[in-house]
Structure formats: structure tokens, C-alpha cells
């Protein structure tokens, strides 16, 4: 059995095989793979006995489900109004120069992807961002440098 097959089977065993389990299964794939490949979609359709088109339809609807490969750490900077008012562009610029990528791109080592996202519900502490599921608020360029450094060090230690 291929890795994807095994992953999808495991998730279906955990959550179940009816349609209500589709979103949790897709979320599970994203948690371990960062994105949902075509192979994974076909496999989910087979496990749940629904059409691959339905899986594709759902997978492409939600902004936190990705169908293109992403880095290990997905950075989502909030671009909605109050974060914008409190300097989100400065934060993006800082991240672009730190990571040497443009918005929407992944670093060459496959570690970081930089994106924007809509309101994170941290408007009183903007600018805000998520790194995977962890929120960071009251951001300043200095703070962003420290945060990225922390993640890089974590990666160095794990190698």
C-alpha cells in the first residue's frame, strides 16, 4: 500500500466513512501532508464511496485546504481591515525579506510558505498571523524576526 493510501485509510478508520467525515478526513490529510494531492482525493473518494468530483469540489472550496504543495510551516498574515490599518504590509515586507520569497511562494528548502488570509479574529491585537495553527499577535518587524528565528532554530535542532 502506498503512503497516501495508508494515510487515507487510517483517517477513514478514525473518523468513519460517511459524507459527514469528508471534511475531517481532508483536514487530517492537510495536517500531515500540508496539501491534498490528486492521488489523495481519488483515494478518499474510493474509501467513502463518493465521486472524486465531490471530493475535489469540497477540497477546493475551503481556503485552509490546499491542493498544491506547501511548506512545512504555513504563515498566514491577516490582511483584513484592522490588521491592514496597523501595519500588515510592513509585516509582509519583513517576512518576504527574511524568507527571500514573495507572497504566495514557498522557500527553496520547503520549510515556509508565506500567504495572506482573511480576518483571523485577532483585530484588537493586530497585525496578526498564524503559523500553521498557532496565532501570533501584536506583530512588529522585530517580533517577526524573532519568531522566524525560533522556527529556524527548531528546524536546525530537529535535523
Amino acid at each position: 500500500m502506498t503512503e497516501v493510501k495508508q494515510l487515507v485509510k487510517g483517517l477513514a478508520d478514525q473518523y468513519g466513512r460517511n459524507e459527514e467525515c469528508l471534511l475531517p478526513i481532508l483536514q487530517g490529510i492537510v495536517t500531515s501532508e500540508q496539501h491534498i494531492s490528486e492521488d489523495a482525493m481519488v483515494e478518499v473518494a474510493r474509501e467513502l464511496n463518493i465521486s472524486a468530483a465531490q471530493v475535489y469540489g469540497t477540497a477546493t472550496f475551503y481556503s485552509f485546504l490546499h491542493t498544491k504543495p506547501l511548506g512545512k510551516y504555513v504563515i498566514r498574515v491577516c490582511k483584513t481591515i484592522t490588521c491592514m490599518m496597523h501595519g500588515k504590509n510592513q509585516i509582509i515586507k519583513e517576512l518576504e525579506s527574511l524568507l527571500k520569497v514573495n507572497l504566495g511562494e514557498t522557500t527553496h528548502d520547503g520549510k515556509f510558505t508565506l500567504m495572506e488570509t482573511n480576518c483571523l479574529g485577532q483585530c484588537h491585537k493586530g497585525p496578526a498571523m498564524l503559523i500553521n495553527d498557532k496565532p501570533y499577535t501584536d506583530l512588529t518587524p522585530e517580533k517577526v524576526r524573532e519568531i522566524v528565528m525560533m522556527y529556524r532554530n527548531k528546524e536546525l535542532r530537529s535535523n
Partner: protein, 393 residues
């Protein structure tokens, strides 16, 4: 003379140590009695739409079927709203108690908290609380279980029927109404879906009775409301205030002294310009004099350094991305509004083009399938009308 500050309330966030006892006491009361209390308290849905909560529970309780659901809508995605996160973090027991009482009344065995993907970090802590809560329910002999269902970053899923679709594994596309959720909700079964804050308020009503709640607020808008305050304010944050204040009173307390506009209700709400601060009251539309604005609690303050063009541009950008794309008025309308204001700003279209854009927005109010498309006109028209020169120059 310095004006008196707005009264800060502490009903929702007050730490209570007798939640279990209140739940037990409430569960011993009759269904009708509890529903009547909720109806007479005047509690209305705190997500922004303002449907009477007691009536919602009553309607679902009257449906004749074994399979029913209680859902807590924690898909708080409206720009400028963050109160539900705080409620779930600090007083989740109150929300769960509300769900359990509702479940007993309507006859549901299963409940869900639909938690937006952006709040995934709350899940571990919530799961612990839910586990503990389940053993409390077992002790009381109530057959009810709560699960967390995680969203995946879609604003539209805060719309109740889109939320059901999402839970059923589909794209989050709103359904036609009727049938309403109390008749056909999740899995086409009768479902009560309430906002996080609404459920927390039901606990206060169980504990203190309907009168204490009713004493707060004005006319058709009863009780207190949790406001999310952000933007140009020295004191951003979450505040529980009485319903029925004027925007002027709000700005006096929370503004930075230079407020030129307040956006009430987020991107889908209304922009109130300085000249209307005095005449605008925060509350559900009823028999109030002047304008009254309902709100999910998002209050964004803009001072005179802000370009309202940029504000509107940001909102439209948001709507273009978050429109589910199912119905044409919303999918195409949001894009055309965005392109339209850009064209006017660049001088590619005359300023009179703004009137045509407002017609388009008003057309969307009538023709769009759900609240998202219908409410784009709220912010669009209120910003364009009041800040026309900022749109053009």
C-alpha cells in the same frame, strides 16, 4: 462636565462556580417554563440576525422526529469580531450548559460546536472541558454528547445553512430558505443553531431569571451585548455593554478623539459617519426613533487619518474572496463593485458611475441568495454615500 461612562457589565465573563448546580436546577424545570422564560427575557440571536432564541427552541421542540441537533455556531468570521473566541476561552461551561438545556427541550442527543479553522488552537482546551462536561451530564442522567466540528477557513460557513452543508462534507454553499433549520437543518433534521454568545446568555437567564436580563437594554433590544472594539481606539478589546447606546456615547468612551466613522457590524454592517453618531442607536430594528443598527458586536473605529476608499476596498476584496460563487448576483456583483470603485478612483469612469454601482449593490440586496450577498450593499452604500469625495479624489 465630563460625561458619565457607559456602564460596563460583567454577566457573560463573570466566573461562576455554581454552573453545575444551575444546570441541574434548570433541567428539573419543565420545557415550557424554560422556553417562556427565554421568550419573556427578550433574548435575540447574538450573531447579528437577531431571531428570538426562545422561539427558535420552541419551534424545534414542536417538530415530531427522534433525530434532532443542537449546534453552536463558533464560525466567527465577520471582520472585527473576536468575542466568541474569548467566550469559548474563558466561560465555555456556560455555552455548553445552554446547549444541554436546549438539547433536553427539543429532544436532541447530539450537539456540535462548529469551530472556525482559525481557532484550531482552542480545540485541545475545549475538548478537555467537553470531556468533563460529559461526565457531569452522565451524573444528571442527560443523554447528550457534544463534539467539535472544525471549519477550514470559509467566512460563508457562518451562514447557518452553509454551515450544515459544510458539516455534511459539501462545499459551504447556502441553501434556499425555507425550510428553516428548526424544520430541516443538519442532515435535513430539525436543528437549533445558536451563536456562542447567545448560548452563554441563556445561562445567565437560567441563573438570574428573565427579569434581570430584560431590565437591561431598550425596547426591542434587551439585555447586554459583547462588543468587539478595534481600529483607531486607545483601548481595543472586548466589552460587555448594555444594548441601546448611541454611537456618540460609544465613541466618547472608546474613540481616540478624532473618530470620523464607526463601522457597526463588520464588513457586512453599516458605516456611521460622524454627523450621524448622535442619531444612531445600537440595537435591533424596532420601534426606535432615528436609525437603529443591529450588530454581531463588531465595532471598528476609523479616525480622520484613514481613507474610507481603502476601507471599502478592503471590504470588497474580502467579499470577492469569500463569496461562495453559487449565485450570480453575489459572485459577479462583488467583483464588479470592486472593479467599479477602482475605475472611478483612477478616473476611468465618471463620478456618476458610483450611482450605478450603488444600484448594483441594492440589486444584490434583493437578488442574492443569502445574507452575504444581500448585505454587501450595507457597507457599500453607507460608505459611498457618506464619503463620496474620498471615493473620487
Amino acid at each position: 462636565m465630563k460625561k458619565k461612562h457607559l456602564q460596563r457589565l460583567d454577566l457573560i465573563f463573570k466566573n461562576e462556580h455554581d454552573i453545575e448546580a444551575i444546570l441541574e436546577k434548570t433541567l428539573k424545570r419543565g420545557n415550557d417554563e424554560i422556553i417562556n422564560d427565554l421568550i419573556s427575557s427578550g433574548l435575540k440571536g447574538r450573531g447579528g440576525a437577531g431571531f428570538p432564541t426562545g422561539l427558535k427552541w420552541k419551534l424545534a421542540s414542536e417538530e415530531q422526529t427522534d433525530e434532532k441537533y443542537v449546534i453552536c455556531n463558533a464560525d466567527e468570521g465577520e471582520p472585527g469580531t473576536f468575542k466568541d473566541r474569548e467566550i469559548l476561552q474563558s466561560v465555555p461551561h456556560k455555552v455548553l450548559s445552554g446547549m444541554a438545556v436546549c438539547a433536553r427541550i427539543i429532544g436532541a442527543k447530539k450537539g456540535y460546536i462548529y469551530l472556525r479553522g482559525e481557532y484550531l488552537f482552542l480545540k485541545p482546551q475545549l475538548l478537555e472541558v467537553i470531556d468533563e462536561f460529559h461526565s457531569t451530564l452522565d451524573k444528571m442522567g442527560l443523554d447528550f454528547r457534544v463534539e467539535i466540528f472544525l471549519g477550514s477557513g470559509a467566512y460563508i460557513c457562518g451562514e447557518e445553512s452553509a454551515l450544515f452543508e459544510s458539516m455534511e462534507g459539501k462545499r459551504g454553499e447556502p441553501r434556499n430558505k425555507p425550510p428553516f433549520p428548526t424544520v430541516q437543518g443538519y442532515k435535513s433534521k430539525p436543528t437549533v443553531i445558536n451563536n456562542v454568545e447567545t448560548l452563554a446568555h441563556t445561562y445567565s437567564i437560567f441563573k438570574y431569571g428573565p427579569d434581570k436580563f430584560k431590565d437591561l437594554g431598550i425596547q426591542d433590544s434587551r439585555g447586554s451585548k459583547v462588543f468587539s472594539v478595534s481600529g483607531d481606539t486607545p483601548i481595543p478589546g472586548i466589552y460587555e455593554l448594555e444594548f441601546g447606546m448611541s454611537v456618540q456615547r460609544f465613541v466618547d468612551d472608546f474613540g481616540d478623539g478624532d473618530a470620523k466613522a464607526v463601522q457597526v457590524g463588520g464588513a457586512s454592517g453599516f458605516c456611521v459617519p460622524r454627523k450621524r453618531f448622535d442619531k444612531t442607536v445600537i440595537g435591533y430594528q424596532g420601534k426606535l426613533r432615528g436609525t437603529s443598527l443591529p450588530t454581531g458586536g463588531s465595532m471598528m473605529i476609523f479616525n480622520s487619518s484613514r481613507s474610507m476608499y481603502n476601507v471599502l476596498h478592503n471590504y470588497l476584496d474580502f467579499f470577492v474572496e469569500e463569496s461562495c460563487g453559487q449565485c450570480t448576483p453575489c459572485r459577479v456583483g462583488t467583483q464588479q463593485l470592486l472593479l467599479g470603485i477602482e475605475a472611478v478612483k483612477k478616473g476611468d469612469q465618471p463620478s456618476s458611475y458610483l450611482d450605478r454601482l450603488m444600484d448594483l449593490a441594492e440589486g444584490m440586496r434583493v437578488t442574492a441568495k443569502c445574507g452575504l450577498g444581500q448585505s454587501v450593499a450595507n457597507s457599500f452604500s453607507s460608505i459611498v454615500e457618506n464619503f463620496k469625495e474620498e471615493m473620487i479624489y
